[in-house]
């Protein structure tokens, strides 16, 4: 997984919080593969590899259904201070996080 530093993304997230999600370009197929690996393995260390929950809550379509996508994107990018959910903006761009949330909400690919 390449380390991506994108300070702009953080600014964007702050702007985005509360407003509608601006549709960004889809990650490339190669990047999508990396993201699937990251979510299953590294998010999985807290949310479970099957995303059924662990130290962090389940990230399944049923558990996320009622939650606004943009707030989930903001959680991924910025983390949740005071909880164990860390910010991922060093590794994930807005487009990546949006793609992840969309996939989580429909059932995450294997």
């Amino acid at each position: 997984m390449s380390t991506r530093r994108r300070p702009i993304v953080v600014v964007l997230t702050l702007l985005l919080a509360g407003s509608a999600v601006v549709a960004l370009a889809e990650p490339t197929p190669a990047r999508q593969k990396e993201l699937i690996h990251l979510v299953r393995q590294d998010c999985g260390s807290c949310h479970g590899m099957t995303l059924q929950g662990g130290l962090g809550p389940a990230l399944l379509p049923a558990t996320l259904a009622e939650k606004p996508a943009e707030s989930l994107v903001a959680t991924i990018i910025g983390g949740r201070p005071g909880t164990a959910m860390p910010p991922w903006h060093r590794f994930l761009g807005e487009d990546d996080a949006q793609w992840i949330v969309a996939r989580l909400m429909e059932g995450f690919p294997k």
Partner: protein
């Protein structure tokens, strides 16, 4: 009843087994070779629900067993005869394996979401710790029949995830409540009627350990800087906090994976513990529990493991530094070696007397074996997304 000889491993069949996977070893009619288990162990293959059984003398795999469910966060304890492994899976599966016959003896689904377990001092009770529903459950080590359970209800109607379960002398188990902020000690002298004592711990204990002598229980705290310490010899004194404010008010670095604590952390009279949100190993005197130093390391430590002789501490790290391993010399308190064994190093396990360490590199699908004196790689084994490595030497240790 099977004839005992039937259960014994045939040395010559090892090679065959390695090739044919889960085929259990049965009587073959040829010369039966007696076999101990002291140099055996297993490697969890987290993605596929398999375990690979290994021999630390020949540094080879001798069998592979599937059908263990979700092993994405698995842990293992051994029966006191070191023949049976109890594998606790994330999906709540509890599987008893026979290392000699290389087969599953029994498997039960004990809860919805588990993270580990432990075995009692007398070897008769296996206890699982669960996230949902939060609590611990005790099983008969022979039959895996449920004996009793202690729901982690820390306030009326409020259940906590349980972390850091460890056996302590007196057929007791100590554990911590992540959501409840407490340490509980349950006495299973009467396995069907456990008696539980509660102690304040602090904010969000994320894991715990018992010192090798069984006297102190330490719970690492995620929600505050510090570690809760309970003297199990003097529980009346309650728990207290050590290494308080080790963060010195500085902003925490993000923690991309929770550290793990287990009872290897005491070496050379000091406890070596992962800091949270700092790239440091914290060092405390194991008598006074005062901080004696810290060691700057490559990333957020996950496992901080003392070699059996206590001379070295091996440290691996959370994402994104999980390709590194560092070795601290306990005499000087300095990092003496930095290794890059492979991609996504998840776990390390020392051979019983510590001449070698086995390291799992998940994303390389390999287990690497290193010489602890020369730091040379001695060999490696293939394994699919390997995570935990567990050798039978754990059978005789307090706190596992």
């Amino acid at each position: 009843m099977k004839h005992p000889l039937q259960s014994l491993l045939l040395g010559c069949a090892l090679v065959v087994l390695a090739a044919c996977g889960t085929v259990p070893l049965r009587e073959s009619g040829s010369a039966v070779q007696l076999r101990g288990t002291g140099d055996l162990g297993l490697v969890i293959e987290r993605a596929s629900g398999h375990v690979t059984l290994v021999n630390t003398s020949s540094r080879e795999a001798y069998a592979r067993i599937g059908g263990l469910g979700d092993l994405s966060h698995a842990s293992v304890v051994y029966s006191r005869d070191a023949r049976y492994a109890y594998v606790f899976g994330r999906d709540g599966g509890l599987t008893k394996l026979d290392l000699l016959e290389a087969r599953i003896v029994k498997r039960v689904m004990q809860s919805g979401n588990a993270i580990g377990g432990s075995i009692s001092q007398d070897g008769r009770i296996v206890v699982a710790q669960n996230y949902t529903p939060g609590g611990i459950k005790a099983f008969d080590a022979d039959t895996l029949e449920l004996l009793s359970e202690v729901p982690a209800e820390y306030a009326p109607g409020k259940f906590s995830k349980v972390v850091g379960l460890a056996d302590v002398p007196g057929n007791k188990f100590a554990y911590a409540l992540f959501d409840g902020g407490e340490i509980w000690v349950s006495d299973f002298s009467d396995p069907k009627k456990p008696v539980t004592q509660r102690f304040q711990a602090g904010q969000q204990p994320y894991d715990g350990l018992v010192t090798p002598n069984g006297r102190h229980y330490l719970a690492g705290l995620f929600g505050e800087d510090g570690i809760a310490l309970l003297d199990l010899w003097q529980p009346g004194k309650g728990s207290r906090k050590i290494l308080e404010k080790y963060g010195r008010g500085e902003e925490k670095l993000p923690v991309f994976k929770m550290p793990h604590l287990r009872g290897w952390s005491v070496a050379a009279g000091r406890a070596w513990l992962p800091a949270i949100g700092r790239h440091e190993v914290l060092v405390a005197d194991a008598t006074t529990w005062k901080e004696t130093g810290r060691v700057a390391v490559r990333g957020q430590p996950v496992f901080v493991m003392a070699s059996p002789d206590g001379r070295q501490i091996w440290v691996n790290f959370a994402f994104p530094d999980n390709g590194w391993v560092q070795v601290i010399d306990t005499l000087t308190g300095q990092v003496v070696q930095t290794l890059q064994p492979g991609k996504a190093v998840l776990h390390m396990e020392f051979t019983p007397r510590g001449e070698a360490v086995w390291i799992s590199a998940r994303d390389d699908n390999r287990v690497l074996i290193y010489d602890t004196r020369t730091f040379r790689q001695l060999g490696s084994l293939p394994a699919e997304a390997p995570s935990g490595i567990f050798f039978t030497s754990r059978a005789a240790r307090i706190g596992f």
